[in-house]
C-alpha cells in the first residue's frame, strides 16, 4: 500500500503548474520578517502616507496596543487619525467615501483584506511601480495597475521615475531604505488582513507539542495492548 501512496504523490507532483493570468507583470516578493517591530513601522508609515484616503476599518486602534505592543502615546500621537477617532473604533480614513469618489473618480478601497485578495507580492510591487505619465490626471501611472486613480503618494520617498525606470528626480531616502519602507507597509497590510497570524504562530508550537506528546503516549498504549495479538 505504501507503493500506492508514493505513486499518488508522484502523479500529483508531475502535474504542470496552474496557468498564470496572461501578460500579468512580474511580481516581486518583499523581504521582511513578519514581526511586531516591522508591522509597527508599517503602521506608522501607513498612518502618515495612506490613511488620509484608505481605511482599514476592521482594525480597531486598541488592537495595535494589545497585538503589536505599541505604546499608547505613539498610538494617540502618530496613528489615530483624524482627530476625534476613538481607541475602540476601526481605523477609518479622514475622507468620506462620497467626497473621495468625487475627487478621484473612484472611492479609495478599504484595505483591511487587500493582502488576502491581491497577495503581498502584488502590494509590494504595486507600491514600487509608479512612473511619470503626464497624460494621467495625477501625473503618474502604474505598471502593475494601469490607469490607476491613486496618486504616487510615496513619491517624496522614492523620487520620480520614467516608464523605462530611469531616475527623473531622486527621492529623500536611498533605494534600499525605500524597499524596506514599502516592505514594512506590506507587512502591515498582511497583518491587517489576518491579525490572527501573530497569535496563531505563537500558539501553534504549544498545541502541536501537546498533540505530539499525546500521540506518543497513544502509540505506547497501542503497543502494550497489541502485544497480546502479535
Amino acid at each position: 500500500m505504501r507503493r500506492l501512496l508514493i505513486i499518488a504523490a508522484l502523479a500529483l507532483g508531475a502535474l504542470p503548474p496552474p496557468a498564470a493570468a496572461e501578460a500579468a507583470p512580474k511580481l516581486e516578493a518583499p523581504h521582511y520578517r513578519f514581526d511586531r517591530a516591522t508591522i509597527r513601522r508599517g503602521a506608522e508609515l501607513f498612518a502618515r502616507r495612506c490613511s488620509a484616503c484608505h481605511s482599514v476599518s476592521r482594525i480597531r486602534y486598541a488592537r495595535l496596543e494589545t497585538d503589536l505592543d505599541m505604546p499608547l502615546g505613539t498610538l494617540r500621537d502618530d496613528i489615530m487619525l483624524p482627530s476625534g477617532a476613538h481607541i475602540h473604533q476601526g481605523m477609518m480614513s479622514a475622507m468620506r467615501p462620497r467626497d473621495a469618489a468625487k475627487w478621484f473618480g473612484v472611492a479609495p478601497p478599504d484595505l483591511t483584506l487587500e493582502a488576502r485578495y491581491r497577495g503581498i507580492d502584488w502590494i509590494y510591487t504595486y507600491l514600487k511601480s509608479f512612473y511619470r505619465d503626464v497624460k494621467r490626471p495625477t501625473g503618474f501611472d502604474n505598471r502593475v495597475f494601469k490607469n490607476v486613480a491613486m496618486p504616487d503618494v510615496l513619491e517624496p520617498l522614492q523620487g520620480i521615475r520614467a516608464e523605462d525606470g530611469s531616475v527623473i528626480r531622486k527621492g529623500s531616502v536611498s533605494p534600499q531604505q525605500f524597499d524596506r519602507d514599502v516592505a514594512a507597509i506590506t507587512a502591515w497590510l498582511q497583518y491587517t488582513s489576518d491579525p490572527s497570524k501573530l497569535a496563531r504562530e505563537a500558539l501553534g508550537p504549544w498545541v502541536i507539542g501537546f498533540l505530539a506528546l499525546f500521540t506518543l503516549l497513544a502509540y505506547a498504549l497501542k503497543r502494550v495492548v497489541w502485544r497480546r495479538v502479535h
Binding site: 502535474l15 483584506l113 488576502r116 498545541v207 502541536i208 497513544a218 497501542k222
Partner: protein, 403 residues
C-alpha cells in the same frame, strides 16, 4: 457503580450496546493504514458540528450582513478566527478523509456481498456531504461564494421543463440573495447535518451487521473457533479503540499544522476571491469550485452541450452505486489477489486527480482532450468491470488472514 449500571441496564440497553458494538464486536486483526479513516471521518463530523454551532451564533444570513458577520468572527469575536479556521480546514479534511475511506473500499472490494447496503449508505453520505459542503461554501457570501452559488443553481435550472421553476425554488427568487442565504443556512445547519447523522448511524449499524471487510477480502466469520468467535477476529475494544486514538493523534497534528500555519493553504482551502464581498456585477475571472468538487466540474466542462454535460455528471455520481453488482470476480475481492483490478483502480484514481486539477484551472480548449480522455477512462472502469472481473487472472486467496 455497578448498581447504577444495573439500574440503567434495566431501562436502557447500555451494557448490551457496549458489548455488541465494542467489547464483543470482532474485527479482523489485520487492519492497516487505510482503516484509520472511518473513525477519523466520525471525528471530523463531530468537529464540524461543534465549531458550526459556535459560528452559527455569530453568522447573519442576509445579503447585506453575511460577509461582514464572517469578518466580525475573524476580527472581533474572541477565538473566532480559531473556530472558523477549524471549520474551513475541517471541510477540506472531511473530503480528504472520506476520499481515502472510499478508496479503501475500492481497493479491498469492501462493497461486495454482503456489504452492498453498507456501500450504498456510504455513498449516500458522500452525496449528502457534497451538498452540505456546497451550501456551506455559499454562506460566507464572498464573491466566489456568490458565483459558485449562481453556477450550481443554474445546473438545476437546466433540468428540462421543471428547471427554471426548480432553480427559483432553490434560490428563493430569480437570483442569489438574502432568501438564498436563509434557505441554504437551513439546509447547511439543520437538514443535512441531521440527515448525515442518521445516515452515519445506518452506516455503522450495517457495518456491525455484516462485520468489517479487511485487506485480504476474506470473511473472518467463516472461520469461527470452538467458542463461536472468529479465529482471526479481535474485539474492537480495546484493540481498535487504542489504535484509532493513535490515528486521531497523528491526524490532529496534521490538521493543526494547517490551522495554525497555513489556514488558507494558498487559496486551496479558502479561496482568494472569497476575500471580496459578493458582487453580482463583477464575475471573478475564473469561477472554479472547491478542490473536492473539481473533478465533477471538469467533467461538466468537458462536454460542450450543457444538458448532456449535466447528464454525464449525474451518471458519474450514480455509477459507483452499482459497483457491488458490476464487480463479479467469483474468487477474490481484494486488490491483493487481483493485479488487473488494482491497475484499473489506480488508473481511476489518476483520472480523478487529473480531472480535479483541470477543474481548478481556467477553462481552456487545450485542457479539453485530457479531460475527455480521463472522463472516458472513468466510465470505462465501470463499463468494463463486469467483464474484466469475471475473466481476470486471480492469485490464490489464502484460507485465513495474512498479518
Amino acid at each position: 457503580m455497578s448498581r447504577v449500571l444495573a439500574w440503567v441496564d434495566r431501562r436502557f440497553p447500555l451494557s448490551r450496546l457496549m458489548r455488541e458494538s465494542m467489547t464483543e464486536y470482532y474485527a479482523p486483526k489485520n487492519f492497516n493504514f487505510w482503516y484509520f479513516f472511518g473513525s477519523l471521518a466520525l471525528l471530523v463530523f463531530a468537529i464540524q458540528v461543534i465549531t458550526g454551532i459556535f459560528l452559527l451564533a455569530h453568522y447573519q444570513p442576509s445579503a447585506g450582513k453575511a460577509f461582514d458577520s464572517i469578518q466580525t468572527i475573524m476580527f472581533d469575536v474572541k477565538w473566532g478566527w480559531l473556530i472558523r479556521y477549524i471549520h474551513t480546514t475541517g471541510a477540506s479534511f472531511f473530503f480528504i478523509v472520506i476520499y481515502l475511506h472510499m478508496l479503501r473500499g475500492y481497493l479491498y472490494g469492501s462493497y461486495r456481498k454482503p456489504r452492498e447496503l453498507l456501500w450504498i449508505v456510504g455513498f449516500v453520505i458522500y452525496v449528502c456531504l457534497m451538498a452540505e459542503a456546497y451550501f456551506g461554501y455559499v454562506l460566507p457570501y464572498g464573491n466566489m461564494s456568490y458565483w459558485g452559488g449562481e453556477v450550481i443553481t443554474s445546473i438545476v435550472g437546466a433540468i428540462p421543463y421543471a428547471g427554471p421553476w426548480l432553480a427559483s425554488l432553490v434560490r428563493g427568487g430569480f437570483g442569489i440573495g438574502s432568501a438564498t442565504l436563509n434557505r441554504f443556512m437551513a439546509f447547511h445547519a439543520v437538514l443535512l447535518p441531521a440527515l448525515l447523522g442518521l445516515l452515519v448511524l445506518m452506516h455503522l449499524l450495517a457495518l456491525h451487521e455484516t462485520g468489517s471487510n479487511n485487506p485480504d477480502g476474506i470473511e473472518i466469520r467463516e472461520h469461527p473457533g470452538a467458542d463461536g468467535k472468529p479465529l482471526d477476529g479481535i474485539p474492537f475494544h480495546p484493540y481498535y479503540t487504542v489504535k484509532d486514538i493513535f490515528g486521531v493523534g497523528v491526524f490532529l497534528i496534521v490538521f493543526s499544522l494547517v490551522v495554525f500555519y497555513a489556514p488558507t493553504l494558498h487559496g486551496l482551502f479558502i479561496e482568494t476571491y472569497n476575500y471580496i464581498p459578493a458582487n453580482p456585477l463583477q464575475t471573478p475571472p475564473d469561477v472554479t469550485p472547491a478542490w473536492y468538487l473539481a473533478p465533477y466540474y471538469a467533467m461538466l466542462r468537458a462536454i460542450p452541450e450543457k444538458q448532456l454535460g449535466i447528464l454525464v455528471l449525474v451518471l458519474a455520481i450514480v455509477a459507483p452505486f452499482f459497483l457491488p453488482w458490476l464487480d463479479r470476480n467469483p474468487k477474490a475481492k481484494s486488490v491483493r489477489y487481483r493485479p488487473v483490478y488494482l491497475a484499473m483502480v489506480l488508473i481511476l484514481v489518476a483520472c480523478l486527480l487529473v480531472l480535479g486539477w483541470i477543474g481548478m484551472q481556467p477553462a481552456s480548449p487545450s485542457l479539453l482532450p485530457p479531460a475527455r480522455l480521463c472522463l472516458a477512462l472513468y466510465f470505462l472502469f465501470f463499463v468494463s468491470l463486469p467483464f474484466v472481473s469475471r475473466f481476470e487472472p486471480t492469485r490464490p486467496v489464502p484460507e485465513r488472514l495474512r498479518m
